[in-house]
């Protein structure tokens, strides 16, 4: 855990971003870091997102070398967001400067103890922070391995440590839907871990979270779940019910093309707000159970959802809008965690989504983020949870 306190009060907060398309980790780290540190201001923290092409250990070593004493964290991702750009291959280094306090924690293995990993990572990141000062605000980023463990439990563990009243954002490190392995960074490269980054500032953070998915099928009851798999819906085989739902809408889905169809038709869990928490079914198990990216509560009513590019882009704009509104004014920076599957659904229009968000946040506002494998955040001012196929935007007032 590392905490740096910036003593230059009243100087504001800024995020300087450096980018590199170099395929070699050393050269990419050198180029992106040089750009990010060109501002000559004292760095508080560096946030790093790299595409999956880089060897994580080599990249971490190169970044540590380039960043020196600057504490840094991040993860690998299917794509890196820098403003309106989406880098399918490349590295982005964002350096925070100004009146900001930061702490980093890392814990694992999330595959063995997801709840405790989430709790310990936040506990570590909060070491060195005293009780929140009056007029100060906190944001927490969770960057976790979403392939290994129950990410919902990671988030619950993190909440149990830090509580509500915090702006939560983040997501699962990704590898462009190959579902092999991911890397998390906290000064070093980790696998099967969760990284927590705590930010504290004297101005408010604002978080917006939206997805744009709309009901497609009728409500069905999850009558048997097995961890992250939905075994039965309405007391019948889950895949059978899912397929029947598609048939009623004039569509067809088989086991073979399930992944393609499910990409556009996730499951939604209704909330009291009338909104839905999205669960992404990624495969059909031999017994017909739908394996999702995160846990589906047993006994909950689900709906098969559908998304159209327009609704998804509108939702992203709304997320940016909410984030800006909650931050309360001109923004110092925005961090974006956008589900990788949205990029697949939107195709080239993903750039349109980024552009819309950038316009809402402010063309001059530095925007950094990545395509994630599941997202962390809350709808409104509430406790966060793990979402799928969703856009989360965290902004800090300038």
């Amino acid at each position: 855990m590392e905490v740096l306190r910036e003593d230059q009060q009243g100087m504001g907060v800024a995020l300087h971003i450096g980018v590199s398309h170099e395929p070699e980790p050393e050269r990419a780290a050198a180029e992106a870091t040089r750009q990010a540190l060109a501002c000559q201001e004292t760095p508080v923290l560096a946030l790093v997102f790299g595409s999956e092409q880089y060897d994580p250990v080599a990249l971490a070593a190169a970044l540590s070398c380039e960043l020196g004493a600057v504490p840094w964290a991040g993860c690998c991702a299917a794509g890196v967001i820098v403003g309106e750009q989406l880098l399918w291959e490349g590295l982005a280094v964002g350096v925070f400067v100004g009146d900001l306090q930061a702490g980093i924690g890392v814990a694992g293995p999330v595959s063995q103890e997801p709840f405790q990993s989430g709790r310990r990572a936040v506990e570590q990141a909060l070491q060195g922070f005293s009780a929140p000062r009056a007029g100060h605000h906190r944001g927490i980023l969770l960057l976790t391995d979403a392939f290994s463990g129950n990410v919902e439990h990671v988030v619950q563990g993190a909440i149990r440590e830090a509580g509500g009243g915090v702006a939560w954002a983040g997501g699962g490190a990704g590898d462009n839907l190959r579902f092999l392995r991911t890397a998390q960074f906290a000064g070093h490269a980790y696998r099967d871990h969760v990284v927590a980054v705590v930010l504290e500032a004297d101005r408010p953070f604002g978080v917006g979270l939206e997805h744009g998915w709309l009901p497609y099928g009728p409500p069905v009851l999850a009558t048997h779940t097995r961890g992250e798999a939905v075994v039965d819906l309405d007391f019948s085989n889950a895949f059978g019910v899912y397929r029947a739902t598609a048939v009623r809408q004039g569509d067809e889905v088989s086991r073979e093309d399930f992944a393609r169809f499910a990409m556009f038709h996730p499951l939604g869990i209704p909330c009291a707000s009338g909104n839905y928490v999205i669960r992404d079914p990624i495969s059909v198990e031999p017994d017909g159970a739908l394996r999702c990216l995160a846990e589906v509560p047993d006994g909950s009513l689900l709906r098969v959802m559908q998304g159209k590019p327009e609704t998804l882009i509108t939702a992203a704009r709304d997320a940016a809008c909410t984030s800006r509104r909650r931050a309360g004014g001109e923004l110092a920076f925005s961090l974006v965690f956008d589900c990788v599957s949205r990029a697949r659904v939107l195709g080239p229009r993903i750039l349109e989504e980024l552009s819309v968000m950038s316009q809402v946040l402010g063309a001059e506002v530095p925007m950094l983020g990545c395509l994630t494998f599941g997202e962390v955040g809350a709808q409104g001012v509430a406790l966060p949870q793990f979402h799928n196929k969703t856009t989360v935007v965290l902004s800090l007032m300038a």
Binding site: E161, A162, G163, L302
Partner: protein, 448 residues
């Protein structure tokens, strides 16, 4: 903390079908979560966290009011670990304790930073955590950001859920008490089992000690008996030589003879104990006239009776015969007579032989100090005596050996005594012989 009653959205403002689906889904999931609380492993914090997530609250607190008016945090969601560790020092107004429905939980000032950032809306649901009428009041408090949209129907949903939660908590209270009782029983059982194991170990150690002692006695008695016999024979030979008759040391030879005789008797007793305890006391049966045998033994005791000045009256019924081991039966009578002389305080001793109900009966009665009731049970044990060994010699084996011989002959030995009135030992023997050998006691009662 600025807290206001949370204003929910009227149900009519929401699209009915969507609202119904959401309501049903949230109800389904949270009912399942509430039912998990019946499981002793279920955590109230987990239920509150799911409730908070599904309703979109900022935080949930479950509070209880103690008899002293202190507010206790039973569970929470949305509070950091640091906040949960903060002491709750808030007090409820006195009238709140009198009427549960009037406790204004929202008026409490909490120390939690999570609840101080913005004005918050509040829903409160009073309940009790135990079925008793006097159980302390409790409440679930849900904190919302005022801009959060939640339908009024969810208030009813939470109120209904709290009925399940209340029942679960009642059940858990009972369950905890049952488990505590079970734990106590298990603990007591464990202690008893440990005690049994300990007793068994002590018993085994005691048995081992006895085996060692008996082995020692057996070996020691055998090793002592041979040289003592040689010594005694040598002393008697010296006494019989003509020169010894006039020798001034003749009296010394008599002392040596007397003491070796006494030592030989003691060692013989030890050997007998060793044989008895090893079950190796061999008997040789022959037809014996008990009256005649008794007369002969009494005659042998003549010098001792004379020396002690004790008169003896013998009353023998003729024809009391049976199949017994002569030497062992003589030994029984010698032991009884020896005790009568020793403890008879020179008062007359009566010896009687008679036949009674087909049994041969031998009675040795003295009129000495007698034996107290509490000593009567133990004097048949080995190395036991009614009077301290400082006052009377011997090993305390005579009655033990006598009883075991009588038992092995198929008879019994009884004692009747009152302190200061003397003692009467009655030996009853089957006249048919010792085939009906009495079963010897085993187990702890055989421990000596």
């Amino acid at each position: 903390m600025p807290v206001l009653p949370f204003c929910a959205v009227p149900a009519s403002d929401v699209q009915p079908p969507e609202e119904a689906v959401s309501l049903a889904s949230v109800l389904q999931e949270l009912t399942s979560a509430a039912l998990d609380l019946f499981d002793p492993e279920g955590l109230l914090d987990d239920f509150l966290q799911r409730l908070t997530l599904r309703l979109g609250c900022l935080a949930a607190l479950c509070l209880e009011l103690s008899q002293e008016g202190r507010v206790l945090l039973l569970g929470s969601a949305g509070l950091s670990r640091a906040s949960r560790e903060l002491p709750l020092t808030v007090q409820v107004e006195p009238q709140g304790r009198a009427r549960l429905s009037e406790v204004n939980w929202g008026a409490l000032s909490f120390p939690y930073p999570e609840l101080t950032a913005t004005p918050l809306g509040l829903w409160q649901f009073p309940f009790t955590t135990a079925p008793e009428e006097q159980s302390p009041p409790a409440a679930l408090l849900l904190f919302f950001e005022p801009s959060q949209r939640v339908s009024q129907q969810y208030f009813g949903l939470v109120a209904r859920l709290m009925k399940v939660v209340r029942r679960a908590l009642h059940h858990r209270g009972l369950d905890v008490r049952v488990r505590q009782s079970e734990q106590r029983l298990i603990e007591q059982k464990r202690l008893l089992e440990a005690e049994v194991v300990d007793n068994a170990r002590l018993y085994e150690e005691a048995q081992q000690a006895i085996r060692i002692r008996e082995e020692f006695l057996s070996v020691a008695a055998h090793e002592l008996f041979t040289p003592l016999t040689s010594l005694r024979l040598a002393a008697q030979s010296l006494q019989r030589t003509p020169s010894a008759q006039a020798c001034p040391s003749r009296s010394l030879l008599q002392i040596i003879d007397g003491q070796t005789r006494r030592l030989s008797r003691l060692v013989s007793e030890l050997l007998d104990v060793s044989r008895i305890q090893a079950g190796a006391l061999a008997l040789e049966f022959d037809e014996i006239d008990l009256g005649q045998m008794t007369q002969e033994v009494v005659e042998q005791f003549g010098p001792e009776l004379e020396r002690s000045g004790t008169p003896l009256k013998l009353k023998v019924e003729p024809g009391v015969t049976g199949w017994w081991d002569r030497l062992r039966l003589e030994q029984v009578l010698q032991n009884l007579l020896s005790n009568a002389v020793k403890y008879g305080e020179r008062k007359p001793i009566e010896v009687q032989v008679k036949a009674e109900d087909g049994m041969a009966c031998l009675v040795v009665r003295d009129h000495g100090m007698g034996i107290s009731p509490e000593d009567q049970a133990r004097i048949f044990g080995p190395f036991e005596r009614a009077i301290s060994s400082r006052h009377f010699g011997g090993l305390g084996l005579g009655l033990y050996i006598a009883q075991r011989i009588v038992w092995q002959l198929g008879g019994s030995i009884r004692l009747h005594s009152e302190p200061g009135q003397g003692a009467a030992f009655t030996v009853e023997l089957p006249r048919a012989g010792g085939s009906a050998q009495r079963t010897l006691p085993t187990g702890p009662e055989a421990l000596h």
